[in-house]
């Protein structure tokens, strides 16, 4: 497990990288599915985060289709 703190910006970068877009292009309230997040990409993200110790599972991602709402889940878990 990494000790590096997980930030909203890291979340944005990870998702943007998976969607092959610039992190700047991903707004807090953009719908992630509209931006191209499908189940396979979501799964890859979840697996990546799992290795990094980020407490987000597939259900969280599937339920929270914006960066903002996903971040609130992460905060709640980390808190």
């Amino acid at each position: 497990m990494t000790t590096e703190p997980f930030t909203r910006e890291k979340l944005r970068q990870d998702i943007a990288a998976m969607l092959e877009i610039d992190a700047d292009a991903l707004g807090d309230d953009d719908n992630l599915m509209d931006m191209g997040l499908d189940s396979m990409r979501a799964m890859n993200l979840v697996m990546q985060w799992d290795e990094e110790g980020v407490p987000v599972d597939f259900g969280d991602l599937a339920e929270n289709m914006t960066l903002a709402s996903l971040w609130s889940v992460v905060q709640e878990r980390q808190g």
């Binding site: 092959e20 719908n31 992630l32 599915m33 997040l37 499908d38 189940s39 396979m40 990409r41 979501a42 799964m43 890859n44 979840v46 697996m47 599972d57 597939f58 259900g59 599937a62 339920e63 289709m65």
Partner: protein, 1289 residues
Amino acid sequence: MPQIVPLTEAQAGLWYAQRLDPANPIFNTGQYLDINGPLDETAFTSAVNRACDEAEALALCFVERPEGPGQYVDPALTPRLQIVDCAGEADPAAAALEAIRRDMATPVDPLRDRLARQVLYRLGKEHYYWAQQIHHLATDGYGMVLLTSRIAELYAAATVEGRREGRAFASLAGVWAEDAAYRISPEREADARWWRDAMAGMEDVGSMAPGKPQSAFTFHRHAEALPEATRKALLAFAKQKGLSWPDVLTALTAAYCRRFTGTPEIVLGVPYMGRMGSASARVPAMVMNVLPLRVAPDEAAPLADFCAEIARATGDARKAGRYRSEQLRRDLGLLGGHKRLYGALVNVQPFDRPPRFAGLEVTLHVTGTGPVEDIDFTFRGDAMSGLSIEVDANPDLYSTAEVRAHVERLGLFLTRAMEAQTLADIPTATPAEEQRELEAFNATAHELPDTTLTALLTGAMTAQPASEALRFAGRSLTYAELDRRSAALAETLRGRGVTAESIVAIALPRSLDLVIALIAVLRAGGAYLPLDTDHPPERIAAIMESAKPQAVLATDDPHGLYGSALLTPQDWRKEPQGDALPEVTPDQAAYVIYTSGSTGTPKGVVVTHRAIVNRLLWMDEHYAIGPQDRILQKTPATFDVSVWEFFLALIRGGVLVVAPPGAHRDPAALAALIRDEGITTLHFVPSMLAAFCDAPESAGLQLARVFCSGEELPADLRDRFHRRIRAELHNLYGPTEAAVDVSYWPADAQDRAAPVPIGWPVWNTRLVLLDDRRRPVPPGVAGHLYLGGVQLARGYLGQPELTAERFIADPFHEGERLYMTGDLARRRADGAVIFLGRADHQVKIRGLRIELGEVEAAIAQTGLVRSAVVLERDQRLVAYILPEDSYSETALRNRLAERLPDYMVPAAIMALEDFPVTANGKLDRKALPEPRFAAAGGGAPSTPTQQKLAAFYGTLLDVEGAIGVEDDFFALGGDSLSAMQLLLHIREEWGRDPGLAALFEHPDIAGLALCVDALAEGGTGDDSTGPLIRLTRGESDRPPLFMIHPAGGLCWGYRTLASTLDPQRTVYGLQSPALAPDRELPGSIDDLAKDYTARIIDIAPAGPVHLAGWSVGGIIAQAIAVELEAAGRTVGLVALLDAYPAECWRAEPEPTAAQALRALLAIAGYDPEAHPELETREQVLTFLRAGNSPLGNLPPRALDGVVRVVLDTNRLIRGHYHRPFGGRLTHIRAALDHRDRPDLTADLWMPYAGSIDRLNVPFLHPQLTGPEASTQIAPALCKRMDEMERVGV
């Protein structure tokens, strides 16, 4: 009572499937965890029970309502963890597994049973199996993962300090609401449009194994880890190309699967979990969908481009992924029968990891994921730590060995793909399979003496000079005489300059001279060239021009084609002068036989002595031919089968019996010849064998062996042969280009193979199946059939280019050649080769080979149409045409009948204004209208029942506009689900349920209204199998028509004919009383007729009575007419629809139970030939029940009755002796049928009728009661009934 909600779209398809197949436990999904470690049983129990409380779907309860099935959550049904102690068992693990297996194998009735169970099996100290089982209606694979993870989470919270309980599952109500919203949303409409566009122009979807994709009760499974190197290469490839590895796996697996279908495009099923951004994201429920993915790989494109294209297509499909594939199937008209939306399933599950339980070691074992219709390829693992290939397959379609082979072969395919530039670079077969294909299956090396046909013949002639060698028309020659005569003619030929490689044409009819001539040519060192004097002179002239024979042995030269080369028998030397005859060497040409070329120019195949010697000595040894054998020569010399007929007996000291000219087409003459001459061995082309088996004279023949070749040998002909004739039967295969035959299969009486293989290679011969790029293919994959070895012809006379094109250098054996047959074939798992057909456009309808191009050309030549396309649909030819002004269907039919054999005249002709084309301008076959074999029509509903039913149709099927009385429920879009709803409506409205069978039989408003009315008048339930049914109701002042059932005992098939009668009169169907359980048939047809007569008199106590019956029904109708006459009743029409007196069938062997069962298939409207796999009663009945035929929807006891009636009626017919009927019989003959039995005519009834009225209609026997035939037959029947009523009353 909680609120009842409709099933979600995702559940509806499963609901219907389970209801149709209620005994099938395959809808149970399940898994068990192997748990090692100190499990806290109390904490675990409460974790499981709490998670089950949260997972509402596990407590679903289902109900059937008029508006469709519904569901609600009944907390009382929530599963509780059971703990079962197996520790005391001898083998606790085995005991637990057996219990798990038993539970999984127990079907669940969703209307009654609990959907889920949770069981913990104690196996020993710190060792458990925890089994979960949930009906598919309540969960999908992801739902199972959610549930398991939740239980692990709750267990951890209870047993590990600081672990949280986490969030409970969201409510099922959210999933329901989302489903309901989607149903009426514009998104759904947009998705529907997207899918219809995406599927446009799709050909019929095939799969990797033939057969019906209907899930069995179980499945085969095999799984193996993907090699580490391949897994790493896959990850590296995906990364380098910017692709996701699951997409790469899907694409490559699609390419692999396509190799097995052989079609340019395949359609895969790709599971879609449907959780993203959905209310179901955290709800165990059945949500997943299967998306059809069309894949038409360009095998020459760079591999990454292909993978990227599939990734894009998959991504696009997911965007419309909520649209149910069941609905799409309905949209595309793929419901029912064998039509598929997709074949193999490819499922990549990167999140499929064993759940983690605090302090425990667990491994996951999936015991079932729902129906396995065909074959599922699943990849499990996250690819970072490991990947496995798992194949689940329908055991009805795949063997365990095949499943294992797929796992291994696909693994290798993926490994090779990682080293390939294009798909084309990747072979299908494994190295072991290639080796087997090239060598093991072709290990035929056999020492062959370095000799010639000439030497074999002269050796035999001198070995036993006094023995009889040759017989023809009562004359006979000894070997010594044959030796002298052939030597003398050889001298004459030498005198004419014949030497090695000279060609001598022989244009003689079958005779002693013919055989002498053949041997003489070989002894003179030449090659003989047979000519058929019946061929058109232009064709013979072309062959003469091509072959330039040194001499022509013929009786005359009627067309002046032979010139100075002609040598008539008068010119032949009769006694040899002792001139030295040349030494002949094995590589000299022995004969030249011309075959038809696809371009219309015949081509001469040159075969050497070595090649034909191999063929003859193989046959001689393989079948132990000896001097006692008497071989019949009946094949024209221009066909190469004649070569062994001519020479096999003569090289072995046996007797060659030459059949008189013409005898080969006359079964009776052949049978007599076989008996009189004591023939031991002869050959038939299968179609001729079929005719021969039909001839009464062939019954009980005994001989040593019969050979078939030249066409496919149908399995049922093999069986028919063995019932009739006592002899070995052998199936041989080979083209003229490889010395007659190159493969053999013993089709003996015990042989059950269907299709009958062409089998195994003969000596020194290879049969090699190669793909388009000439690589060996594995068993099961269709390949081009190539032949190699000593029997190959030298080539085509004077056509080196054509020779080089067809005889290629063998890429696997230095210095050898392969002949490209143009045939497609595949190997069975045991290596036996099965012929599949030509690589070109050809169809077969009822076994008759038809070039669709030939029919199209014949239509074009009439000048009545601008353009024509001919297709085969359901075993019938359909012509789609663009008419000229001069066109009329009758004119076209008449002109076609002049040019084409009747079986090539299309059954339906559809005139269009334009042909539909696809986006890229090709004919869009899917968009062609359904053929109309008869006209439709119908007025507005008039009776209250009709009006009510029309209203139901409109509501249930969402039909806009008026519904007519002839509108068909299913044609309007009804399916089995809406059919059940309709029946519930009817039950509510009238308090009676006509039953699904009645709806299938009477899907039109008029017909169904009659059923409903009949029920309301006091019928009891589904009475469609009762002894008397009313088929139509007509004007009461017209005497009724009674129609008598055919062999199956049911009269449903007469409904069309009955309703076509104009003016309408009441038509009754007399059905077999033995359809009822526990009712035996009377002991004879006459007793049956008495019973029926009594029923007729009951209903029609006075006035004239009309009778009609098809097939067996005609036989009974005549017997009833006799009874009615004796009872003093006026008998009007007695119509026999293609029926023939009982004695025609007496000599036929009684059908076995198996045959009667297969006859059921025909009665149900299936082609029995298409289902050779159905042999047992259970198989046939299961198949029928699964299908959509009315017969299959009968209650089981009634279907049993039909089987019994078929068997018993056949027996009664054979024992029936007709009595004469004084009146007139109207006989309607199916004029297109009975090519095999031209003796079947109306005249056979002459001894049993006062007079006979003969009608011919241009249909086949089975078509007579169909809509098209009815339009011709009904008016004829009406006219006669009218006439007879005028005379009689």
